[in-house]
């Protein structure tokens, strides 16, 4: 983040008061949903995609038709018990690179494993890693952002310069650096992705708090005698929920791509993952394009869903973010 950009972000945060509340106090939960669907059909579609992916990921064991790691077999057409030829030796052979069929809906991969089952488990991994990383990023990032903006001064400057330095790294390269110093595991992957997300979250939270801090009601709270901790938690934090919901949604899209990239490069811990499937599928793309096509489409669909949902939520919850979150 550079000087000029920062100036612009801060300018945008101060300008443009929220015009025309989208929801009114008399709205019931049902009418809120209906209004959202009617005014933001694309956002609603995105939310539905996100919901479906969450359900698929959460109930992966029930969605799979075969175990995602098992090599499936088919009858050997060349089987001949009286022959000593290699291809006639066994009554069954692994179903490698199978085309879609009624038994394997999306075909099988180079290892003879069911593509649908691996996609489902990939959804579980993407969503699990994404939510885990975003929870870390949001909790730590919000704390840093609120404290940094609320107290200001030297603490704020130091923290911001530190975040500047972290943001100077290409995110994927930083992930590779962190991953190289720790044993490969899903927990470490989530921690690393969460760490990188902190910068984004704290920056946007800080921008919002800088504005909130100056509002009369915060001053009133201080006059009544609320201490710093109480002011931050009871009075300032609720004002930051809207941007947090938006960053959480859009951030998930970024984290899913990052996880897929790492799996694609085979530097993430092993296991069924969309990125790894795309990487394996690419090698056999001229023989059976399905694996690469489906896994890549799954990544794109997830990102599209989160982007659309995030954009719509931003317009509805916090229009001021429009110029900032891009």
């Amino acid at each position: 983040m550079s000087f000029a950009q920062e100036r612009e972000l801060e300018g945008a945060a101060v300008a443009a008061p929220v015009s025309g509340q989208f929801f009114r106090p008399q709205d019931t939960p049902l009418s809120v949903i209906w209004k959202f669907v009617r005014r933001k059909p694309l956002g609603a579609a995105g939310l539905i995609v996100v919901l479906i992916l969450t359900v698929i990921g959460a109930f992966a064991p029930a969605m799979q038709r075969y175990d995602p790691e098992t090599t499936l077999v088919i009858e050997n057409p060349n089987y001949d018990p009286n022959s000593f030829e290699t291809e006639a030796f066994s009554p069954v052979i692994p179903n490698l690179k199978g085309d879609p069929s009624t038994t394997n809906w999306l075909g099988t991969d180079v290892g003879g494993r069911d593509t649908w089952a691996r996609l489902v488990w990939g959804a579980r991994r993407s969503m699990g890693v994404g939510v885990g990383a975003l929870v870390i990023a949001t909790v730590v990032g919000t704390m840093l952002g609120v404290i940094s903006a609320y107290f200001g001064g030297l603490l704020d400057t130091t923290l911001q310069r530190l975040l500047d330095a972290i943001q100077a790294f290409p995110p994927l390269l930083l992930l590779i650096l962190i991953a190289s110093t720790r044993p490969p595991s899903i927990t470490n992957l989530i921690l690393a992705l969460g760490f990188i997300g902190i910068t984004q979250v704290s920056r946007i939270v800080r921008g919002t708090v800088l504005v909130t801090r100056e509002l009369p009601y915060v001053e009133a709270a201080k006059v009544i005698g609320a201490n710093d901790l109480r002011t931050m938690i009871v009075h300032i934090l609720p004002n930051v929920t809207a941007p947090i919901i938006v960053i959480f949604t859009i951030g998930l899209a970024t984290v899913i791509v990052a996880e897929a990239s790492l799996s694609f490069l085979a530097v993430a811990p092993p296991g069924a993952s969309w990125g790894e499937m795309l990487s394996n599928g690419r090698g056999v793309i001229t023989q059976t394009p399905y694996i690469a096509l489906f896994s890549g489409a799954a990544i794109s669909l997830a990102v599209l869903g989160f982007n659309l949902a995030g954009d719509a939520l931003r317009d509805v919850l916090d229009p001021r973010l429009r110029n900032r979150a891009q």
Partner: protein, 337 residues
């Protein structure tokens, strides 16, 4: 203007020092895992413990970490002049990242050899991104809510969602299915642009287009919304009422002002672009610094990884410096604001 540039350059120095410190902290705090893995790959005589010691001597982790180390059981704190942090910083400032643990060549010579390919790919992507997104953004804004606008916006939203490496795979599939053309895909096929321009560009075309489209989609959406904002300004109405042609109004009065924020965003997108390029370079066999980092990570080649990371991060700091200076050149408000 000169003062602004000097101030901007001076501001970069602490950022670069901080970047180096962060890399040091990330690689040296709890570096046991990496050292032991690297030692496990060492062939030769001696015990495992000796191998670990040898690795430590090689990358300098046998010395105290910082200037001061404290041992609370025995003596109080002691001062070390010859420590890891000082050595690391002094060496890195001189582009000395040490020797690769695997190839035994210096890290910098390897990076220097591979840097042109990475820079070229980035430049080609930015070129594609701009020539695609700027005209589309203009058309989409001046024909707001028309059919072309809707179609182009749908493509932009899709372009932002599809990761560049999936786009690359799709291009490969399309090229082999419909054009019967498989571009050169390995590092051994790779020719530098000054050796064989046509072979080089053949290999760069698909990744450049894939990365360019991914970046261009974002630029197009931003340019469109900026254009719409500027189109409603009073001075644009004045330009219309003077009887200027649409072409003049759009090109001279609207586009110039709408492009200012876009310049900033191009800088902001570079970090993401580089991340995507690590995957694209690996996918298309371009011997840039991305695959270097990936291979080094698999082989736990610590000096190589931090060499690549520092070079990339410092490079990005300078790209952002260039963007800021451009920004100040096109928008006088920044210089005097």
């Amino acid at each position: 203007m000169r003062n602004y540039i000097i101030a901007r350059i001076l501001l970069n120095i602490p950022v670069i020092l901080l970047v180096m410190t962060l890399v040091f902290v990330a690689t040296r705090i709890g570096s046991d895992y990496a050292e032991k893995r690297a030692a496990g790959g060492l062939t030769g005589s001696g015990t495992f413990e000796e191998a670990v010691q040898q690795i430590r001597r090689q990358i300098g982790t046998d010395k105290p970490t910082f200037f001061v180390s404290c041992d609370f059981d025995a003596s109080p704190c002691s001062w070390h002049w010859d420590n890891q942090y000082k050595n690391f910083m002094v060496n890195v400032i001189q582009f000395d990242f040490g020797d690769s643990l695997v190839t035994r060549t210096t890290v910098w010579s390897e990076i220097e050899r591979r840097l042109p390919a990475s820079i070229e790919l980035g430049a080609i992507e930015i070129f594609f991104a701009l020539i695609i997104s700027v005209p589309i953004g203009i058309v989409s804004a001046i024909r707001q809510d028309s059919l072309p606008d809707y179609v182009l916006r749908i493509f932009a939203i899709l372009g932002q969602a599809v990761p560049s490496f999936y786009l690359g795979v799709l291009f490969l599939l399309a090229a082999s299915e419909w054009l019967n053309w498989i571009p050169p895909l390995t590092g051994t096929d790779y020719k530098e642009i000054w050796e064989d321009p046509s072979a080089n560009l053949k290999q760069m075309l698909l990744p450049g287009l894939a990365g360019g489209l991914a970046v261009g989609a974002g630029i197009m959406r931003l340019l469109r919304s900026q254009m719409l904002e500027v189109l409603r300004q009073d001075y644009v109405r004045t330009a219309w009422s003077k009887g200027l042609r649409e072409r003049t109004v759009v090109m001279r009065h609207v586009l110039k002002n709408a492009l200012i924020p876009v310049v900033t965003v191009v800088g902001l997108l570079m970090a993401g672009l580089f991340s995507g390029n690590i995957v694209l370079e690996t996918l298309f066999g371009i011997p840039g610094i991305g695959p270097l980092a990936v291979v080094a990570m698999r082989q736990t080649d610590q000096p190589m990884i931090y060499g690549v990371v520092i070079v990339a991060a410092v490079g990005l700091v300078f790209v952002n410096l260039a963007v800021d200076i451009t920004y100040a050149l096109v928008d006088p408000r920044i210089r005097y604001g």
